[in-house]
Assembly symmetry: D2
Homo-oligomer: 313 residues x 4
């Protein structure tokens, strides 16, 4: 059925010399715990709406190899813990994940770390009402905390923030080979869904106002997208990340994943109509996909948090 | 707005000492190129249905920093290349990705590697008809190729394969703390959506029948799920991976991400009815999430391919 | 802000003569009750997996106008009832909906009817195992029951059954106007997602083997799609419905909604390659949408059930 | 395989007396034409972003029964027409659908009517920028036009507008039967996704500022949700519709479909914590589903437009 190369087969005669099969990296927990926290100490209520995932790292080998659950903190227990800790307030997704991480690593000797993640959904007041809200769906706030023993890696982010420029975007000067048919353009629509994540430089003794940084980064990303005259989505993306790092010394790196959402100019010539960049077909698939890290020179080594955070190169 | 810790602030007075901001790892290309290839050299047609993503790695710094596109092989060109190469046949997603990777790295000096990924969708013949088919949606086949200079990392996979055991699953013996309310059980429904990826041990001189391996691994995963009397989903998962590795020496490691899709026994007692594991509520969220790598002892270092492959620890 | 036509404004001076505002048609209940029923009277288990919606019709005016809930059978109670009745078995979605409808209309004087709907998901045994299954996701079975006093309207259906012919489909002879650019073809891919619903001619004293009819109709739809040489998707659709009605006298009408899922031949000429119907781009949007009713001549008047069943003309 | 009741079988002996099988109601066209129109007659651009479906009614019988396409205005032609007409501007989804309907019914003798539908997506300016926008995803605007000969039925709507009250909602006084377990409450979260559609009373000589009415109705719905002290979602819904009709004499009826998105208070007692309406679990399924029409007394007969507009009773 399969035929390995000579070199490979020599190493594994009959498959018998392939070595013992063992458990590698692993994690487990409860995913997508939907938490709504109402703060109601006055008549003017506040709402925090999150989707939280808790996963533990540690010594769980016997559960895998023998079905021994004596160290398996039940995923149901992890869910209960999320709700119990929320009684004291959330504050920000980052702060809440830090509390969850501390709780689990301090409560169980064999839990050496873990991964905690959150999405937060925004709500606006309806006409400044005290307790009536409407969901602001224009973006989702994200956070991921990875704890490895004494090390903490904290990443915040924004996703699904859809932006578009109706002019101020060019694309030309690219190489042409046998398979190139695309024309050059000095005026096109540029549109993308911003997914960005930024990693904080230290988290052990963190004293950052995470909500303020989120608002600031969001504003910088929008402004940089709007004001950069674009020669390539790569260029716009780099400017977006660079401006975030310039304004926020507490951020070590920014990773972005930006689809190039194509808007094709419709050919109206068969109908005896011109189309000076007015009527477009918004395509679904395929789309360009532009991804990069923008970081400080001499950045520390790759953080382990990224191994568990999808969508980035 | 933000207040760093003393140690941190000392390193970055006024944010001026944070260093030059530079481009880190990056990739770009065309995502989700929907390709349907009909092989029709006889009246009995065959269909291959794929969704392909091509992303290049290499020297693209000036595009980011200066908007210089002179090395930016257009994503449109990458799409065209997918269709042009498909004219000669697909064969398997793995083989097709290897052709794409070779094409791009050989065609452009500054392209040092890249990431190519595919999903493949299955079709069954309708009543053994020569050219009429129905989509088999019960699973999706996946493949990812990462090329880094002379190194190739090839991962194949299956996803969205939903399985369920109506008995033969227990869960007890787990630790109890302040936040534990879950009861123990010796008979529960066990259900999951299998997402598994397996990495081939060598790909430079690959001579594997990828379609045959896919069919075999799929069968092993299903069989191991069905026949393992489960004390924990972790145990079932480990058996699934172990049996794949035992049967396939050409596979170096298997990574799985398995949601524990909870089926809660409905309490019918208020209605004066018993419920001996017959009537269940299938819950959406939250769900358990169990993830692990099963590998050969003394496995080589972490493959870089995983940094770009979401959903695995 | 708004300016009505003279005729209209005359009827509603100052908006004061527009008449009292009243409650019109209404219904309420619990939607998407996820029910998994295991039949385990022998070691060979069976599984039924459904998603059930229950909505009541009747005298609920005071709940709307005054917030008087004295007649509002709680949606939670409706959910409980679904689970309690499932204890005695499901059998088929149609039979189960008939039991739900009878229960609610017989239990509450003011409930004069209602709408009950179900989706059923298929499961295959893994290697003929007694209690291990894998989800067959290739289609979804549907049923809707509308009760209006003594009248019952019962509709069964299938949806998301994706089919494709790689040849045996033409499209030409259509009219050409100023806005027509489409070329004629004698060989194209024809692909669609079958959504079909069939209405039973009587349901008060129903004695139909619903599972057998479902299997038969499914087979007829697939066979008719495969064997009809197609000059238009309309023609294929009509044949599909006609053959169902010919085989099933207990069915009064069939309604179908079929997207024409375009597969565009890729132009490989710029790459010096021909493309004799081999390499296609599978497009997402837009798509054709072809919908019709196939019925017996002199059919009874429009059934009220369709007012609540989306996706049909 | 099937066994009809005696009465039924008598009418259809051997299935031979069931009558000729004929084409019933039908429609066809192009669905989900994604149109982005940039108005750029000054440096301050405007964007209109729509998803349009065009379906024709008329004499298409021979296409179904014989595959004769001589009257089948190609769906591709319908798509082209959408783009060509957009060159002259969109204005509002309602106005654009009226233009489409007039075009098709005037251009082809055998086209007696049709159904045209649109979704419109909102965009906000980024920092009041002239040509940079971000998508406002908090709601979707909808419109449906049904033309039947000389009659036009025009419906506008809003969907996916998610709202929540953290107090000011009660639910009690409902009947209790064998299957009732729900407790009564005088303080609960009330949350829903508003889907509302309003039908204009006349459209033949329409002179309504559709954008102004949309903004007004949206505001009324939000305000009525926020300010109604709720004893049942039915009551809140009725108030929402009533206030729209009171303010807008040009609207004949309002139909709403409101899920009751359950937020369950988490029981923290096992952890020795109280929970005075602070910590909630936001459930996915099942959910309540409350639907009604609010209309003027003595309203005209049921409009045919509703037969094609899903999600309403």
């Amino acid at each position: 059925m399969t035929a390995l190369t000579t070199e490979e087969a020599a190493g594994h005669p009959n498959g018998s010399a392939v070595g013992r099969i063992v458990l590698g990296r692993n994690q487990y927990g409860k995913a997508e715990v939907r938490l709504v926290k109402i703060t109601r100490n006055t008549d003017r209520h506040a709402i925090e709406d999150l989707n939280i995932t808790s996963q533990l790292h540690g010594d769980f080998e016997s559960a895998h190899t023998e079905g021994d659950n004596s160290k398996v903190v039940a995923t149901d227990t992890q869910k209960n813990t999320v709700y119990a800790l929320a009684k004291d307030g959330v504050g920000s997704p980052e702060a809440f994940l830090l509390r969850l991480g501390a709780h689990f690593t301090e409560s169980f000797d064999w839990v050496t770390g873990g991964r905690w993640a959150a999405e937060q959904y925004g709500w606006d007041r309806i006409n400044d009402h005290d307790h009536a809200f409407s969901r602001n769906k224009s973006e989702t706030r994200t956070a991921v905390l990875l704890v490895e023993g004494a090390r903490q890696h904290l990443v915040a982010g924004i996703q699904d923030l859809t932006v578009l420029k109706s002019t101020g975007s060019e694309f030309h000067g690219f190489p042409r080979d046998r398979y190139t048919t695309l024309g050059e353009t000095t005026d096109r629509i540029l549109a993308t869904d911003v997914t960005a994540r930024w990693r904080y430089s230290t988290t052990n003794t963190i004293d950052v106002d995470f909500n303020a940084v989120y608002a600031s980064v969001r504003g910088i990303l929008l402004d940089a997208f709007a004001t950069t005259h674009s020669l390539a989505l790569q260029q716009t993306m780099f400017q977006m990340g660079k401006k975030v790092l310039e304004a926020h010394p507490e951020i070590e790196e920014v990773r972005m994943s930006l689809p190039n959402k194509h808007h094709f100019l419709v050919d109206l010539a068969p109908f005896a109509l011109d189309n000076p960049n007015e009527v477009f077909f918004a395509a679904d698939r395929p789309y360009g996909l532009i991804e990069a890290t923008v970081e400080r020179e001499g950045a520390t080594d790759e953080s382990a948090v990224w191994a568990n955070t999808p969508g980035f190169c």
